[in-house]
């Protein structure tokens, strides 16, 4: 191997990497530091002599306590979790079957169906929420978790279908042909051979879907109205900004707690996730 001069490695690798890492992590740091800063520090003048914007000398947990005691934050957390898990499960199930069918079965208009599923993903939620709101009202689902559990799949299913279709296409079709000769039905081969091999793809589709529904804002804002029914992103914004008063400490505490589950999910499955996106099946 050719050994590069040290400065080159710094210029091309370490410095850009550091910039990137700092840029990515700084918002989280800011969130944390604001969440544990006492109100006295938060609302003093920027020009005050004792101002220390990047750290605090009197860390406090009062914002977290207020968040838990004075708002329905735990309930929001549970709502978000329940809705995200349920809509992810529905979308994964449909996405698996649809993705498999589009990748493997020969049927008339397969290409057109595949493309139209993708196109539905491109329709922005800001266009869709009006007709969807109409439907939600007709079925009397407004202000219930089901309003979101049933509308999130409208963008999650196309997403999962496409991701999984791409993954299934990387799996040699001889594997299931062999399984079918070995004694499995097409469905059996799918369950016993293709799905176990596709675990990285399924996991990354699941993680993505979970994150998308966890962070979703506009549908949640429109379809849910009672404070105790809200999800974290909507609850934090609508209940902790009153008029022009921002409860910065609680806002940031809520945002921080809200992002922890997603971070945990990612860190547990990071290897599968990478394999899922790069589609690496070795025979």
């Amino acid at each position: 191997m050719l050994i590069e001069p040290k400065w080159k490695r710094w210029v091309y690798f370490y410095i850009p990497l550091t910039v990137f890492v700092v840029g990515t992590l700084f918002p989280f740091y800011w969130m944390l530091i604001t969440a544990i800063r006492p109100d006295a520090e938060l609302y003093r003048s920027w020009r005050a002599a004792s101002n220390t914007p990047f750290w605090t000398l009197q860390p406090t947990l009062e914002h977290f306590q207020d968040l838990m005691a004075k708002t329905t934050f735990p309930q929001w957390l549970w709502n978000t979790f329940f809705i995200a898990v349920a809509s992810t499960a529905i979308s994964l199930f449909c996405g698996l079957l649809a993705g498999y069918a589009l990748a493997r079965l020969r049927f008339p208009m397969a290409g057109t169906v595949g493309t139209s599923i993708f196109v539905t993903y491109l329709v922005p939620p800001t266009l869709l929420f009006i007709p969807l709101a109409n439907i939600i009202r007709t079925f009397r689902l407004g202000d219930t978790p089901w309003a979101l559990i049933l509308t999130y799949p409208t963008f999650l299913i196309p997403f999962c279908t496409w991701l999984l279709m791409g993954y299934f296409k990387t799996i040699p079709k001889e594997l299931e042909e062999c399984a079918r000769i070995d004694g499995a039905t097409r469905f059996g081969a799918m369950l016993r051979i293709i799905f176990p091999i596709a675990v990285p793809g399924i996991l990354s589709a699941g993680i993505f879907a979970f994150t998308l529904s966890w962070n979703e804002f506009i549908y949640a804002l429109i379809f849910l109205s009672s404070p105790e029914r809200k999800t974290v992103p909507v609850g934090v914004v609508s209940e902790l900004i009153r008029g022009d008063i921002y409860f910065w400490g609680q806002l940031m505490a809520g945002a921080l707690l809200g992002s922890i589950p997603v971070a945990l999910v990612y860190s547990f499955f990071v290897e599968y996730y990478v394999a899922g996106l790069t589609g690496s099946v070795k025979g």
Binding site: E174, L175, G183, K282, G283
Partner: protein
């Protein structure tokens, strides 16, 4: 053990007619090789037997059952794929046991059969490994093992040796042949490699553009090809073809073209009579040419200019120019010739072939 019958078998995709009127009777315990260039329909035919492709028209019988509408799992066949198709998430043992598990064999029986197959193939110590930990040759063995544990009625091989390097391919070829002698199971083997076809097959089926060109024992195909395609496809280096005119000189037929004039061997004379004064294609295999000696009858000797000399050790290939044509001669390694040198070659008369110029059928 079973015979396989294909009757008027056809396969059409939207635009492409991939397999055309294939009729083939594969006898019990026979090893039949389907060979041909890519796109000739050989793999499609095999996949129809396996049940992986629907049959557009015709009938396939395995044993005494028509299998047209049976799913692959009910046809009692086993298949080895070109890319081995080992299940990557299972160990070698589980790979081999999968078919038996699906058929609900008792555990003890599964274990016995897997052990037996592993012993035959020399892969006992690999049973606990995953496919990615195996070399190409080992994967190939596992794929074969997975097929033989099932004791199926028919083995199907789809270019199983194509992914191996040349040396290993020769070794596995011998092993497959030995295995077939031992198991005595009907086998259909698809390859594009004519050497594999010749060495493995009890009978060889040559296909082109979806049609069967000829079915026969290897030496029969080699010695009496039905048409110009088979003649050119079987044998390496390929047969030399020269377009010649048939002329009658005092009752004897001669084949002539610029720079080449040889007598039509007596064995062919009567069949070539109708072609008098017409063009036909003369086919001569490289090994049926040799440097002329005094003992060769002069009517089979002609002049040639050496273009390229390829010494292979066991033999020498001479690319020579004869008039407008370039032909290849396979001669003794002791032959000493130089490039651009004039030489005289003789052909072995009774081995020459003649083909109709239009239909390309053997005359």
């Amino acid at each position: 053990m079973a015979q396989v019958m294909m009757k008027d078998l056809n396969k059409k995709y939207d635009e492409v007619h991939a397999v055309k009127d294939v009729n083939l009777h594969i006898r019990d315990k026979e090893f039949v090789v389907l060979v041909g260039p890519s796109g000739c329909g050989k793999s499609t035919t095999l996949r129809m037997v396996a049940g992986l492709e629907e049959i557009t028209a015709g009938e396939i019988t395995i044993g005494d059952r028509v299998v047209n509408d049976l799913p692959p799992k009910d046809r009692d066949i086993a298949m080895v794929f070109q890319n081995y198709a080992l299940y990557p998430h299972m160990t070698v043992y589980d790979n081999m046991a999968f078919g038996l598990k699906m058929r609900k064999f008792p555990k003890a029986e599964i274990q016995k059969r897997v052990q037996e197959a592993a012993e035959i193939l020399g892969i006992q110590e690999l049973l606990k490994r995953k496919p990615r930990q195996l070399s190409g040759g080992q994967r190939q063995r596992v794929a074969v093992g997975r097929a033989i544990v099932r004791h199926p009625q028919v083995f199907l091989f789809d270019e199983p040796l194509s992914n191996l390097d040349a040396k290993l391919r020769v070794q596995m070829r011998v092993e497959l042949k030995r295995l077939h002698d031992r198991l005595e199971t009907t086998a259909i083997y698809v390859t594009h490699d004519q050497v594999e076809a010749m060495t493995l097959g009890d009978r060889v089926v040559v296909m082109k553009d979806g049609w069967i060109q000829q079915v026969g024992e290897p030496l029969e195909l080699y010695g009496r090809p039905a048409n110009k395609f088979v003649a050119g496809f079987i044998g390496s280096p390929a047969m030399n073809f020269v377009d010649v005119k048939v002329t009658d000189v005092n009752g004897a037929l001669w084949a002539e073209t610029q720079g080449l004039r040889v007598r039509v061997p007596p064995a062919h004379a009567s069949r070539l009579m109708p072609y008098k004064s017409q063009q036909v294609t003369l086919g001569v295999r490289p090994e049926d040419l040799h440097p002329a000696t005094g003992g060769d009858p002069s009517e089979y000797v002609f002049d040639a200019v050496v273009d390229v000399v390829e010494p292979l050790g066991s033999e020498v290939l001479l690319d020579v120019r004869v008039g407008q044509n370039t032909i290849v001669a396979r001669v003794e390694p002791t032959t000493r010739v130089k490039v651009h040198e004039n030489t005289r070659l003789a052909l072995t008369p009774d081995r020459a072939q003649f083909f109709d110029l239009k239909t390309e059928l053997a005359i």
